[in-house]
Amino acid sequence: MNDFRVYLVETLRATELAYLVATAGFILALYWMNSPATARRGVLAGVLAMALGMVGAALDPHVTRWVWVLGAIGLGFFVGVPLSWVPLTAVPQRTALSHAFGGLAVGLLGTAKFYDWLFAPAHAKPLQMTAFVMGALVAEVLLGFLTFTGSLMAAGKLQEIKWIPQRPVTYPFQNFVNIGLLGVAVLCGLALVVWQDQVAYLFPVIVVLSLAFGVLLIIPIGGADMPTVISLLNSYAGLSAVALGFVLNNKLLITAGALDGSSGLILSIIMCRAMNRSFFNVLFGAFGQVQGKAAAGETKTVKSETAEGAAQIMEQASLVVIVPGYGMAVAQAQHRVKELYDLLTKRGVDVRFAIHPVAGRMPGHMNVLLAESEIPYDKLVEMDDINHDLPQADVCLVIGANDVVNPAARHERASPIFGMPIIDADKARTCFAIKRGMNPGFAGIENELYYGDRTYMLFGDAKAVVGEIVKSLSGGGSGH
């Protein structure tokens, strides 16, 4: 058995081959995500690539402690399977938690590698600790542990755990403290690169500093900015895998890590752009800290409408555009929305969904929820396309969206969302807005849409209100 593995690995180079094929598999996995029609094939490619990579690693003739290996893998399955059953609203938290696990794994591997090298007798070092390798090892440990605590904090903020403050926590000279901390960690790393095992005691210092830095990096960022931060942490996780690949001379780690790193980067750029904010603003802007300045002076009045009234108007419409937002996710109203969609479609009304890139709390949030309720994905229209149609829409129904339909983004220079592209709900002939009260959304500002001439509020929980509309549609129009 072991001879056979030696033959496979040393003569046939089976590991290298497996890694090469696995790389191609990961690339295809991401490539196939370009359309929902091929996306599941992409997952399959990813699973096969990962399995191939694991088999390739297990072929290594040095791997003999099967009890440990299989035990850890089994335990991983045991925990991983239930973790995949979380409700869809908890997907951001799960992703963050998962990044924390990933960061921990990479950090521990780096630590293990370091001490393995340190304690090995001089004539049989397990790896040649050149400056390059030591540098990569330090970068890997730093990124890994930083991702670990940072992601834990992010997960906590998203889950709204009590003892983790949701609002940004700021204190004087915060950025100086953070940068100083990072600077010390980097200096320790440089010292290790130069003096190697003579300053081995600096290694635990780096570990502690990165753990602390992860926490400090996240606390000044508001809970609602967490999706962007998670994406960025994903990028860090990828980069730490790359660094591990440099340490171990493992090309699969490098390719998969780089794919990951670029993915996280691009997603956070997309989010920042859709919010018209910069990276810098997200990371250091303490967004969502100032609050309540919205409730200024003059009292404006809103008109409200009943669910029955709204149902009647929608029934007569020829084009209804529905704008879902974070409120729909909170209320879990997507299945009711599907019933509404079915009823209106049956009556010959053309119903389309306007999807803003940052509606909800993670990129693509609305798409997943609406897909869950089995609304066909060709009815989900991107912002730029639907804005062409909105002036012709008879009704625009806003379900728990706020910032993404706030016209202040178009003209109010002082507004924190100024310049963010929005869905032109105010251009439809009639606009109905479902929300529980007059609370602001994520950006913490008032929305003049609600005070518009053609806007009518439908106050209440999104699930309840849509349910009422559905009831009056199916009751009143059953003989239709």
Binding site: T23, I27, L30, Y31, M33, P36, A39, G46, M50, G53, A58, D60, V63, T64, W66, V69, A72, G80, V81, S84, V91, S98, F101, L104, A105, L108, T111, A112, Y115, A124, P126, L127, Q128, A131, F132, Q196, I230, N234, G238, G245, F246, L248, N249, K251, L252, L253, L259, S262, S263, G264, I270, M362, P363, G364, H365, N367, V368, E374, P376, Y377
Partner: protein
């Protein structure tokens, strides 16, 4: 090109030592591999459908657990107990990510369907 200058050792020493332990590494090839993969990542991710950004996040989350390959080697080889334990924790954590990441991605993707032809 492989043998890079080691800190305190002479080149000859480190080279002969390398034969006993690990072969010298061609870092420039690794850098090429990194740069090329980054290009691929930027190209491929830019084309992912906006509909699928949430599943994409969990898919890349699963892929980032690729450190599993290093964890297997660390856990399975003949190391001292503390190192084996660190390796096993890493292996456990990565496997968790792989399993839950792929499963939840697939669960989400299953929900996307086209308008049925009537």
């Amino acid at each position: 090109p492989p043998v890079a200058a080691a800190g305190t050792q002479t080149a000859a020493e480190s080279a002969s030592e390398a034969r006993h332990t690990a072969p010298p590494v061609d870092y420039w090839s690794l850098l090429f591999v990194f740069v090329l993969s980054t290009f691929i990542g930027l190209g491929v991710i830019g084309r992912v459908s906006r509909l699928l950004h949430t599943p994409l996040m969990s898919l890349t989350n699963a892929i980032s657990a690729i450190s599993v390959v290093a964890a297997i080697a660390m856990t399975g080889a003949d190391h001292s107990l503390p190192i084996t334990i660190l390796g096993a924790i890493a292996l456990f954590a990565s496997t968790t990510n792989i399993v839950s990441g792929f499963l939840i991605t697939d669960r989400m993707l299953k929900m996307f369907r086209r308008q049925e032809p009537k």
